[in-house]
Symmetry: C2
Amino acid sequence: MAPVQECLISAPGKCILHGEHAVVHGKVALAVSLNLRTYLRLQVTSTAEVSISLPNIDTFLSWDVSVLKPLLSHCKGECRSSTELDTELVRKLREFTAIADGSTDTRSMAVLAFLYTYLCVFAHSEVLPSLKVCVWSELPTGAGLGSSAAYSVCVSAALLTARGTISSPLTQSQETARWSEQELELINNWAFQGEKIIHGNPSGVDNAVGTWGGFLRYHAGKITPLSRVPTLRILLTNTKVPRSTKLLVSRVKDRINQYPSVMAPVLESVDAVSQICECTLAEMATEGASAKHYSTLEDLIDINQHHLNVMGVGHTSLNTLCQVTLTHGLHSKLTGAGGGGCAITLLTPETDESVVRDVMEELKQVGFDCWETSIGAPGVLMHSPTSLTHNVLDILTKY
Amino acid sequence: MAPVQECLISAPGKCILHGEHAVVHGKVALAVSLNLRTYLRLQVTSTAEVSISLPNIDTFLSWDVSVLKPLLSHCKGECRSSTELDTELVRKLREFTAIADGSTDTRSMAVLAFLYTYLCVFAHSEVLPSLKVCVWSELPTGAGLGSSAAYSVCVSAALLTARGTISSPLTQSQETARWSEQELELINNWAFQGEKIIHGNPSGVDNAVGTWGGFLRYHAGKITPLSRVPTLRILLTNTKVPRSTKLLVSRVKDRINQYPSVMAPVLESVDAVSQICECTLAEMATEGASAKHYSTLEDLIDINQHHLNVMGVGHTSLNTLCQVTLTHGLHSKLTGAGGGGCAITLLTPETDESVVRDVMEELKQVGFDCWETSIGAPGVLMHSPTSLTHNVLDILTKY
């Protein structure tokens, strides 16, 4: 396939609709795409440089391609694998970028993942190409919303497209376009390597959601995209209460050990919630969404929020959030680790815009960040410039 | 046994510690005595009248004993039974007191139950005695706190004692005294007939708690007093939000039918909560209460409150209550039907009096009624006058 000179790409964030924590104990989780997206612009240049601009985290770096090439010397002509991490190359890149071994800060990890993917994808090119890459995201980082996966998916899709390994699917008349299933597999595999660099031992769910979008069933390490799903309007709220996922996971484990006869049925009940949700979503997609479907989704959200409280991962900030939204007839649950962090609020076709405005205003007054967005939207997309908002396009072209 | 000329008696209210609603679906419930008590003073007079004063509900009535005697004419010398309701006598009493057949208002029912017990207990006496009875209660009526049972237990104990059917257990030096197990059985049986008159089809739990006090396990219609139990300090709060128990019970049933796979495990989990609570209480009574015991009781309260929310019997007033108390480190759950109504808040030996004062103040400011009391206290008691507070004694002697 012909390499491209420029491309615009986006990938969604992710959140957990149901089954967070329960998934650690062998139950089903439903991971969904969150339509707060990460956008990437790639240009082929003639500067003999590779540059990356990450305005969200104030990171602007460039390297002479000539100094990058030697980093591949250990490769000995073997093909770089999209399914296994080249730990020797990661080590060399850490040395090259002077990132200390244990360091995991966002900037360092983003740079490492980018350079790794760039070198691997172009390892067998005659020359390493000169590229200018800018990535900007609507997603807050470190909030459990898959911002690193959305980044890795964008980088992977952009570099594979620039290399010509995968097609440039966008035709003249299209606003957005997606790749073939096989190409998405490749994007996902490379994005997973990026996630490994950033997170060490990721589940692969985040990059799968970033790649395929929609709803994914995650059970016992197996990821299955749901075939037909609706898009649901939601509010995504970040309480900004900091929490440690590791600590919360171990808190749930402790509680299960302390009260096994109480907690085992709760996990079962959460599993049933996920399964009913999955059936309801399938019905909505095939039969059309009814008020009854939305009422079921609301019930399930309320029930699971209570169950998560029983697991010990609630927080007063989340109680406040649920109370504020319920005052306006809207139903919310935490998403992800809990103990603060983020929550989703379901909007229905009947939810008035004035209600949405009022709720968002109230949540912001409490000190939360709040976005009106959707879940179940498409995964990685190639964009025409006109399909992006002025704001996004401005940022991507400015840096 | 010698009949007495005067006696002072009290019986506690009841609340449900765990298992409300779940008990309807075959699970265990823990009913406990609530140390908000109903007090009764009985005097034998020479007025040839029977009078009853119920200052709480502004009811002051008296009858010539000569007009009451003929109501027993259908009896034909057979013994009145303490275990079966004489529906013919109830019918006659309704006619006599001009209470319409369907009428169930508190005043009418209290009068009916009193006259019924009086006539039955003294049916085989030569003459019906002249009595003056005054009953005053700390319990709010119609709040699911067993006020009618506490009333029936007091009436039953007082009349049986006055008749000499049971002993007058109080000796000179005692402040309070209890009856023998066999006598308590009799008190409970007669109180149950009173409850039948007032409620139609009562479970028998309320009068059992009023009679025996402490903690009772209620499962599949069987009532078992727990042998060794501690007394626990609590706050009892009445949100005063009116609710229909019948409606709430059917709401839970509907939810179970709608989401059986979600709700069946929740009921199982509630059952486990009751069982762990029972074990913990037994440990506290035998080993002495530790901070760990209280921490477990708090966990169970929180968990069950969430489960009751999942059953659909929560209410914003109860959320407010839980939030107010949790702000001060105290744990609360609804007790009884939910949907408003009453809640209990556990106090621990570590709970500072200033905290109790502040919480009560805040709850009252929200518009709730709030009492500092205890659960697990003794059942029906005979009192010396000096064992009553001035306030209670004043009321009982004033009317």
